[in-house]
């Protein structure tokens, strides 16, 4: 139990995807200009990440490992993620048009979100078991949403601030992210 809690905490704060592992920087900078879009992207990523981690875990442990073709990992994982994204998109479109409208534009972007592939690979290389995979991935996804949410609020404020011309846009966003990263790296000391 202790291990699971530690894993969850590590995924959420100490090993935060964005601020300490640098995964998913593109959506972090691209869709964090508004709070609503940041949250939409966050939940879409959590959803796809969780499903794809479980599927890739099972595929890796029971298919690739038994057939001794671990070197196919990258190709298999990216194909799983790409087709999952497509499936999730079709599924949501059918079941809940409202949700589709909210998430729609973010879904195709998730295929090339390195956080999704990154977490799937990390779960394998860190030797998590199935429960560990689920817990760690959920924590990572929630951490992603959490940071996206904080960052989008900060960016809404920055928009109205007098930023020097050379820093406008991405440079100031990166400097703000650096300050956020200091906070998060210190939280890591708790465990």
């Amino acid at each position: 139990m202790d291990k699971i809690i530690a894993l969850a905490f590590a995924g959420f704060i100490a090993e935060n995807v964005i601020l300490s592992q640098f995964l998913g920087i593109c959506p972090f900078l691209g869709v964090s200009k508004k709070r609503s879009s940041a949250l939409g992207m966050g939940f879409a990523v959590l959803f796809v990440m969780l499903i794809s981690s479980m599927v890739t875990y099972v595929l890796y442990r029971y298919v690739l490992e038994t057939l001794n073709i671990e070197y196919m990992r990258t190709i298999v994982f990216i194909l799983v993620i790409a087709s999952l994204v497509q499936m999730v998109e079709t599924f949501i479109k059918k079941v809940s048009p409202a949700l589709y409208k909210a998430l729609g534009i973010y879904l195709p972007l998730i295929t090339t979100n390195c956080a999704v592939l990154g977490v799937a690979i990390l779960n394998i290389s860190k030797d998590h078991n199935f429960l560990g995979t689920v817990v760690y991935t959920t924590a990572i996804g929630l951490g992603f949403i959490f940071v996206m949410f904080i960052f989008s609020m900060l960016r809404e404020k920055i928009n109205n601030a007098p930023v020097p011309k050379a820093f406008q846009g991405i440079p100031i966003a990166l400097v703000v992210a650096a300050i956020l990263a200091i906070l998060f790296s210190r939280f890591g000391g708790i465990i």
Binding site: I121, K165, A166, V175
Partner: protein, 222 residues
């Protein structure tokens, strides 16, 4: 566009990292030392040049292009993923230290936006030779950019510059001379964001100055 322009545009004018701001994740993560940045550069170079070549070869035959067009993104991804797996295996076999240092970021070359971006934006519409030149230019531009960031980070963070293996440039004497310690924060995640932001702002400032100058020059001439 001439062949030379195709090759050179990736270096400065359309630099994938500093101008298009693509491929951010690896450029923040692996820039803790120059060696890692160069290793990443080699991986991206190999994948980008070959994927550009393969994609343009497929798309320049009209019959294949028609077949591939509706499913081109998955096809590109499979091509790229195959090349990345090759790089991963080669690095594991011959450069094990680098393989361990780069870790998860080697397989993640698959989702590096630069590679898919060049396949879609350039290689699918140009001849193989031009696409290879474009790939070389873009990969060199990317490598130069991450090398710049890593030199900045490693120098301020550790006072050294690791070129490759044991070839380490020790510049601690500068810090001793100034009577300060290296700021280790710069080799930590915090420093990645901060350095990238500062370098990008500096380059933007230089770019703005140049534009002003050019605008003035045009006025003076006109």
């Amino acid at each position: 566009m001439t062949k030379k322009e195709n090759l050179l545009k990736g270096l400065v004018k359309e630099n994938p990292l500093f101008v298009s701001v693509l491929g951010m994740c690896p450029s923040l993560a692996v820039t803790t030392s120059l060696e890692n940045a160069l290793g990443m550069g080699i991986g991206v170079f190999f994948v980008l040049v070959l994927s550009n070549f393969t994609v343009s070869l497929i798309m320049s035959s009209p019959k294949l292009a028609e077949l591939v067009k509706p499913v081109r993104i998955p096809v590109y991804i499979v091509i790229i993923a195959t090349l990345v797996s090759v790089v991963e295996m080669l690095m594991h076999a011959f450069l094990i230290d680098l393989y361990n240092a780069l870790g998860v970021f080697i397989p993640l070359i698959v989702v590096n936006c630069i590679i898919l971006g060049r396949a879609e934006a350039f290689a699918s519409e140009n001849k193989p030779v031009d696409s290879v030149l474009d790939g070389i230019g873009m990969a060199l531009g990317f490598t130069a950019a991450i090398s710049l960031i890593s030199i900045f980070r490693e120098f301020i963070g550790k006072g050294t510059i690791t070129v490759w293996g044991d070839a380490v440039l020790n510049l601690k004497f500068i810090f001793n001379f100034l009577n300060i310690e290296p700021i280790s924060m710069f080799v930590q995640p915090v420093g990645a964001f901060l350095s990238f932001g500062l370098i990008l702002a500096t380059l933007t400032a230089i770019g703005n100055k140049r534009k002003e100058k050019m605008a003035k020059g045009v006025k003076a001439n006109g």
